[in-house]
Symmetry: D2
Subunit: 337 residues, 4 copies
C-alpha cells in the first residue's frame, strides 16, 4: 500500500500519517519527490484498513500494490485445477460441453432435448428450474418439478446436470438432485448465497456479473473458496456495455486474463454472451481459441415455443455443427472436445 501525500503536506502531517501507520502495526517507508511525498506501508497483515487514510486532509490517495484475491490466485496454486462433476472433468485436456434449454418446460421437453444434445456430443445438461426473470410476470420456473425432470433426463441419458440456484433455502434440494450448482450473473455478488454454496462440496458453475470487474469476480469466488468448497468453475457470459446490437459484450480477453491470474477452470457462455443465434458458433470457436476449458450453450429444438431465450438458442443440428467446428479449434489448441 502506498500513501500519496497532498502537494504542500508539511512535516507534521507526514509524521501524523507515519504514526497512524505504525499504530496499526505496519512499518512505513518515506520517499520525498519533487512535488509529492509518498509513504510506503510494509507488513504481512491485511492492509485494507489503510484505505481509510484517504480520509485524512493531508492525503491525496491510497494506492494498493497487491492483487486482492488469494485462494483463487495462480501464485497460491501453480498447477491448474480440474473439477470433477460426477465423473466429467472440467479443466483438463478435454473441453467440457454443457448444453440444453434455458428453462425446463416439461418432463417430455427436457428429456427430448437431453437426447438431442447428448447425441451431438454434450456431456452435461443445463436447464433452469428456478428462473431469475427480469419481470415478475414472466415464467418463473417449474421449481422442484423441474429438478425431478432434470434427474429423469440424467437417468435416461447419463448427462450430468447443472441448474441455477436463486435462494439459499433451495440448496438442500439442489444438492440432492443435481451434479453442479449454477450461480447466475445477477447473484455474482450475492455474498450470502456464495457462502452457502461454499459450505457444500458441490461443484459450482459461477457466472461473472454483468458489471463485475475481473478483480471483483475473483474476490467473489474467494467467498466460495474460503468457506471450504474448492470446486469452482468460472464462467464468462458477457458484460454490459453501450453496444446495443448484441445482448451483452462477450469479454474473451477476460477469459485469457482469468487463465493468467487464476488456477480455476473457465467456461464460456456464447449464448447469453451475444444473445444472437448466428454469433454462437463463431464465439464458441473463439472462446476455445482464447483458452476456455468449456462451453455452455443454449439448445432448443423448438425455440419459437421456448418459454425464455428462444432467440439465442441453437437448434440441435446447428448445435452439432457448432461442436464439429469447435472440435477443429480444440485440436489446433492441442486439446479435444
Amino acid at each position: 500500500m502506498i500513501i500519496v501525500m497532498k502537494h504542500g503536506a508539511g512535516e507534521e502531517q507526514i509524521n501524523e500519517v507515519i504514526s497512524l501507520i505504525e499504530k496499526l502495526g505496519y512499518k512505513s517507508h518515506l520517499s520525498k519527490g519533487v512535488e509529492r511525498t509518498i509513504i510506503g506501508v510494509i507488513g504481512h497483515k491485511d492492509k485494507s484498513p489503510l484505505q481509510a487514510f484517504a480520509s485524512l486532509d493531508s492525503v491525496e490517495s491510497v494506492i494498493p500494490i497487491l492483487k486482492p484475491f488469494k485462494l483463487a490466485s495462480i501464485e497460491m496454486k501453480r498447477e491448474r485445477t480440474e473439477i470433477d462433476v460426477d465423473g466429467v472433468s472440467i479443466g483438463g485436456e478435454k473441453i467440457a460441453v454443457i448444453a440444453g434449454p434455458c428453462s425446463v418446460e416439461s418432463e417430455e421437453q427436457i428429456v427430448r432435448i437431453a437426447h438431442s444434445v447428448k447425441n451431438a456430443g454434450a456431456q452435461m445438461l443445463r436447464g433452469g428450474a428456478y428462473k431469475p426473470r427480469t419481470s415478475p410476470y414472466s415464467f418463473q420456473g417449474l421449481e422442484e418439478d423441474g429438478l425431478r425432470f432434470l434427474k429423469r433426463a440424467k437417468d435416461e441419458t447419463g448427462l450430468r446436470i447443472v441448474t441455477e440456484i436463486v435462494a439459499i433455502g433451495d440448496i438442500d434440494l439442489l444438492v440432492e438432485y443435481v451434479d453442479m450448482i449454477q450461480i447466475g450473473a445477477r447473484n455474482c455478488q450475492n455474498f450470502a448465497l456464495l457462502k452457502a454454496v461454499g459450505q457444500t462440496q458441490k461443484p459450482v458453475l459461477f457466472k461473472r456479473g454483468m458489471s463485475t470487474t475481473v478483480k471483483e469476480y475473483l474476490q467473489a469466488a474467494e467467498y466460495i473458496l474460503s468457506e471450504g468448497n474448492p470446486n469452482v468453475v468460472l464462467c464468462e457470459r458477457g458484460i454490459r456495455t453501450f453496444e446495443d446490437s448484441t445482448r451483452n459484450t462477450l469479454d474473451l480477453g477476460a477469459v485469457a486474463l482469468l487463465k493468467k491470474w487464476s488456477h480455476l477452470p473457465v467456461v464460456v457462455d456464447p449464448s447469453h454472451g451475444t444473445g444472437v443465434r448466428d454469433l454462437v458458433i463463431p464465439m464458441s470457436r473463439a472462446a476455445v481459441a482464447a483458452g476456455a476449458d468449456g462451453l455452455i450453450i443454449e439448445v432448443h429444438d423448438r425455440p419459437e415455443e421456448a418459454f425464455s431465450d428462444g432467440p439465442q438458442s441453437l437448434k440441435p443440428d446447428k448445435f452439432a455443427e457448432c461442436l464439429r467446428e469447435t472440435a477443429k479449434i480444440a485440436e489446433a489448441m492441442g486439446r479435444r472436445l
Copy 2:
C-alpha cells in the same frame, strides 16, 4: 408487440407467423412495406411469450411497444406515493434526510454519530449491520449486535433506522429491529430477496443496481410490489461506467425519468454515487434540483478510522453545511428540508 419479417419472407412464412399468433390467443394485423412486412400483435394478454418468435427463420426482430412495468407506473396510480417510515414521510413536500456511517462499528460509535446527524438535521439513521463486502477478508458487520446498537441509537435520538438486508434468513430480525429495510445495489436483481421483503409491510429502501437500466429497475420493484408490499422507496446510487475518477457515475437523469414514469418516491445517495467527499455537497444540491424526495449520506466523525467507505464520508460539520446548502435548493423547488 410488432413482428418484423425478414426481407424476402413469402406468403407462406407470413401466414405461419399469423397462425402462431392466433394460436396463442392474440389478434394479428398485417402491414406490408416496400422492403419489409410487419405484423402487429393485438390483445390484452401478456405478450412476453411472443419474444420467442424472433427464433423463426423468417422473422427479423420482435419489438415491444408497451413499457414492461405496471404497479410501479404512473399510469397505474396518478397521485405520488408517500411512504410512512414510523412517522417520517418520504415522498411529500419535505425532503427526507438519512445519514450515518457506512458500518455500525460499536454501540458507542453509532450512538455518538446518531446524535451528530440528528443535531445537523437528519430524520433517519443509516448504518450497516450486515455488510456485502467485495472481499470475504474485509469486515463483514456486527450482525445482530449491530441491530441492537442501531435500536439503542433510535431510543436515544428518535431517529428512524434503516439498515441493509443481505440474506432472507435475517428478515425476521430486521423487521423486529428496524424501521426500513435496505436492498443494496448488488442485490437489485436478487429476486428471491425481493419477494421476501415484498411479503412484509416494512418500508423498503430499494437501491438501483450498478448496471441495471431504469426499465429493469422498475421491473425489479414490481417483484416487491406484486407480493403485496407497496412501501417502496427507489434510490439512485450511481451506475458503473468507464469513468474512473469517480467511484460510480451518479445518474440524475434517471431520477427525473423515475419521477416521470413512476409514482414511487426517489432518494439519491451522493456518497456512493461519487465516492469522492468533495462531490457530496454539489451532488446533494443537484439531486434535490433534479426532483429527488430525499438524500442518504454517509457521515462519520472519524473517517480515517472507519471500517469501510471512509474516503466518501462527510464529517458532521461538512454534513451540516451540506444540509444548509441543500435547504436553499429545496426552498427554490417549493419544498423544504
Copy 3:
C-alpha cells in the same frame, strides 16, 4: 511515478531498473516491502517515458502519481477563469444561457427562433451550419449559407453566436462569422482540430467526448490551451453507458469534479445529455445546482419539422419555463440567470 517490481525480482533486476531510471536523468528511491519491492522515481522532468518500463520482465506495473494536466489545473491558476464572448461573460456570477435549434435550416427559421430565445432570456444563439451526422445520408448542414444566416440573426437580436466546426479548413470562415467556436463530442480527441482552434483567440465551447474520462478531457483541453488560446469553456453533454432509456447519461458529478480540478468555466447541455424533452428542465436545474456556469439548450418552435434532434428540443414556451425554474436555483446558489 512508482515502479512496482514483480514478486521475486532479484537484486540484479532491481539494479537494472535503477540504472535505467538514472540514465534517463531521474533519481530513484528504493522501498522493499514484504512481498514487493517498489522504486519511486523523482525529478522535475516529464515522466511519461517511464511508462515503457512496464515492458521489463521484472516489472509488474508503473503507477503515475501526478495528475496529467497542467494549464487547465486549479493548481496552475487559483482564480476562476471568466471567458468574454463579445461582451457576454461565461464563468462569472451570471449563468450563461445559450439556446437555439440543432441545425440552421433557413434564414427565416434561425432569425425567427433567435427572437424567441432572446425573448425568453438567452444571451447566445446556437445552431449548426456544419453537422457531424451519424449517417452520410442525413442532412449535413447549410455550410457558409448557415454562417451568414447566423450572422443575420445576431444583427437582428444581438445574440452572440456559437456554431460547431468539423474541419480545419473552415476555421477562417468561422472566425470571421461567429463569436464562439464549438468542438463537438465526436471531435473531442481530434487533436489536429484542437491545435488549430488553439492557434486562434476565439472562445471555444469544448464538448466532452462520449467516452472521454475527465482526466483525458482535461488533457485534450491542454491541446487548445498550450497552443496559446486560453478561452476554453468546458461542456458536459452526457456520456455513453448501458442505459438505453436516455440518449446519453448526463454526468453531473463530472461537472463538480471539473470545477474542483480546473479553473475553466463549465457549461452543461441537458438536451443531448438526456435526449428526452421532459428531462431538460429538471436537468437544467440540477446542472446549476451542481455548479455549472452555463446551459446550452436546444430550442425549436416546430420540432416535428426539425431536420435533426427534434425529440429533445424544447418549444419556446417550455424554454421560458425552463429559465424561470432554473433562475430560482441560480438564486439559491447566490448567482443569477
Copy 4:
C-alpha cells in the same frame, strides 16, 4: 418506420400524424391495438425526417425498421470484398498480418523492426508518423521524416506500409508515401476526415471508435464508401467499458456481427484491444477463430525504450510464437496465415 401513438391519442391526433406522413410523400398504415395505436410508414424514400415526429405531443416513440447502412451491407453485395494493398490481399483465404512498433522513432529503429517482423511472417508494416496522443506533452511523431523512414523500410523489406492520418492537410503526403491509410479510433466519427480519404482510392484501415456501436461504425464507413473509395478494411480494436484490468474490452462478437452484416474485410488489433502483452497471443488466436481476416499487432524489440505503448508490444520472438499458434487456428478454419 413505425409511429407509436401515446395511450389515449384521439382520432384527430391520429389523423394529424397520418396527414403529416402523407405530406412528406410516404404512405401510412394504421393498426389499432388494445392499449396503443401504431402507424406504419411505407415508401422507398429515406425515412430519417420522420424521426422528428417523436416531437409531437401525441406520439410516444418512432421506431426504425431497416438497418441504417447501405453500401457496406451484405444485402448490397453478396460476395465478400477483398482489398488489394499493393499486391497484398486482405479479405481472402489468407489471413493478413500487419505488425510493427506503435511509433516510428528513427530510421534505424523502423528498418530494424521491419526486418524482424518480416522474418516472423508479417506482410505489412505499421508505425505511426503522426501520433494522436492523449497529452500534448507526449511525443507527437516524426511526421514527414517518419513517412520517409517507413518508405525506406518498405524499400528494404518489401513490406507494405500502413500509417495513421490525423489531419486532412497531410493526405497528399500519405497517399504518396504509404500503401494504406489508417483512421484511428479517436477519428472514427471525424466525418470530414472520412470524406477526405473517401475521395482517394487508397486502401483504408478504418478502426472502430472506443464507444461507437456496430451500427454507427458501419454508418461511418458509409462516409468513406459513398465518396467513392470502396477499399475499406474494418478493424475492431477494443471498446471502452467499466473493466479496468485491460486497457479496452476486445469485442470479438462485433467481429462476427460485422462479417454477418457487411461484405467488408475485418481485422483485429489485439494489442490495443487488451493493452496487456500476455493477452495478445490468446486474443490473436481467438480473433481468427471468430472469423477475422487479419491481425494488426504491435511489435517492438526494445519495448522498455519505446516512445509509446511499450507495455502492450510483443518482442520479435513472442511475435513469431504468436504467428505459429495463430497459423494452427487459421488452418482449423480452412484458411492460412
